[in-house]
């Protein structure tokens, strides 16, 4: 093993600590990978917010068909592990289109498939957060808004949603953090995010302890920073009351 490591020109010399050697040689690569992780998370979250809002609203309107559609979506996504969803979207769907249905030339990039996968997964949880947030607003608020003549959606937009969002924000930020961590699952479809890249680094260096420690710290720093920002926002909203 020592020999193998010595064969790699990047990681042999000068009696440096192995961690520093990895950082020297693969630091840029890992940082780029972290950037890819954040890019994937942001893309996923963007569409997750849209999906969450749509399905969250579908589950609160007084219409049985809409409620059912929302419930089926949430249950279906929550009932399937994300890794299965990832394989299904990246490999399964193009196979269905190309081979079974004969619509040629459909290919998804890993970023596209990963975004869809995160958006669906996080979107289902966001829908639940938004539903719960809207339901937490006293029914009298909607009734009062309707009683002065505001149409349902206007009342929702002016009175109910602004109040619901306040109670939703902590859960939404929490969901953002979970989604950011879930990007690591998408290493299985070959997207060059942090975990996937780290695997390659380990394959090159065999220094799994050092590499994974670096990766863990990188996640830790980003996520802790995010939660701090979240705490700060929460506090500001509370004082704003």
């Amino acid at each position: 093993m020592v020999n193998l490591r010595a064969m790699l020109p990047a990681c042999n010399t000068k009696g440096e600590l192995p961690v520093l050697q990895i950082l020297n040689v693969y630091g840029d690569l890992l940082l780029t990978a972290m950037g890819q992780t954040l890019l994937l998370a942001l893309c996923g979250l963007f569409f997750a917010c849209i999906l969450g809002l749509i399905f969250g609203l579908l589950s609160v309107v007084r219409n049985k068909v809409c409620n059912l559609i929302a419930a089926v979506f949430v249950d279906a996504i929550r009932g399937v592990p994300m890794i299965v969803l990832a394989y299904f979207i990246y490999f399964g769907v193009p196979y269905l289109l190309n081979t079974i249905l004969g619509i040629g030339g459909v290919m998804l990039t890993a970023l596209q498939a990963g975004t869809i996968c995160l958006a669906l997964n996080c979107g289902a949880y966001m829908a639940e957060i938004i539903r719960a947030g809207i339901e937490s607003v006293d029914r009298g608020q909607m009734e009062a808004a309707r009683s002065v003549g505001l149409p349902y959606w206007r009342a929702m937009q002016r009175v109910v949603l602004p109040q619901a969002i306040r109670t939703m924000i902590p859960s939404i930020i929490n969901q953002f953090i979970i989604t950011l961590k879930d990007t690591s699952i998408l290493s299985v479809i070959g997207f060059p995010e942090l975990v996937n890249t780290a695997k390659n680094v380990v394959a090159n260096t065999f220094m799994s302890f050092q590499t994974w420690a670096i990766v863990a710290v990188m996640y830790l720093v980003v996520i802790t920073t995010l939660s701090r920002v979240a705490k700060h926002m929460e506090r500001r909203l509370r004082y704003g009351r």
Partner: protein, 248 residues
């Protein structure tokens, strides 16, 4: 101002309302005239509030006919929002918009529904707030007000749409005793000005003083109606007698 018997503001005929299998309103019919103050009394669960909430269709109506301002609100095709613009409602729990200050509470609907531009709506709102004695609270948020203040703002909010009819759903039931008076005072003032009012309340003294007509409801029916003198002084129905014995 006197009751104008030539102008029916609210016509209710064989109104029925079920919640699932529970029949809350079984058969309610009455006419409410322009400028009339109608007070509805009765034990809890008698359908008073449900009746009131049917008048602006906050509750879907199961059967019968309700005509408000010549609009048949039991007809699904009617634009209920248009009717509601003309029918103010005051709730037991105030229901002020918690995310807006008092002024915005009053101007939201007039501005959003293009009844007035922002400046005109704010001017009108300030007048209304002065009328309920709360001009100095225009920039306060609902959470900073006392119960009595909240309810007076709620009345002003309903008036901001300049309605012909006002519905009051137990407006003083959630108030501390010392705040009941200030709210009733505002309501009396409105009654004197000739507003058509339908009030569900447990304030019997108030009912006696301001009502043109008192309706006693129980079990989903109007069991007795008449002037306050008739209903409070000489009730005919044994259920009315029994109820009044308990509350007076």
């Amino acid at each position: 101002m006197a009751v104008n018997k030539d102008c029916v503001k609210i016509h209710v005929e064989h109104l029925k309302k079920n919640f699932g299998k529970l029949e809350v309103l079984k058969d309610v019919s009455t006419d409410i005239y322009e400028g009339e103050v109608v007070v509805i009394i009765g034990p809890s669960g008698s359908g008073k509030s449900t009746f009131l909430r049917c008048l602006n269709r906050l509750e879907e109506i199961t059967g019968g006919e309700v005509i408000v301002d010549d609009m048949r609100i039991t007809d699904k095709r009617i634009d209920i929002n248009k009717v509601r613009e003309n029918v103010g409602m005051v709730f037991q729990h105030f229901n002020l918009f918690a995310n807006m200050n008092v002024l915005r509470n009053l101007t939201l609907a007039p501005v959003d529904l293009k009844k007035a531009d922002k400046a005109a709506a704010e001017e009108n709102a300030m007048k209304l707030l002065a009328r309920v004695g709360l001009a100095d609270k225009a920039l306060a948020y609902p959470s900073q007000l006392s119960g009595g203040q909240k309810q007076r703002v709620a009345i002003a909010r309903a008036l901001a749409m300049n309605p012909d009819i006002m519905l009051f759903d137990e407006p003083t039931s959630a108030l501390d005793p010392e705040m009941v008076g200030e709210v009733l005072e505002v309501m009396k003032e409105l009654a004197r000005e000739g507003m058509t009012m339908v009030i569900v309340t447990h304030e019997m003294g108030f009912a006696r003083e301001v009502a043109d007509r008192v309706l006693f409801m129980d079990g989903g029916y109007i069991l007795e109606e008449g002037t306050p003198e008739q209903v409070f002084g000489n009730p005919q129905n044994p259920r009315t007698q029994d109820f009044l014995n308990k509350v007076l």
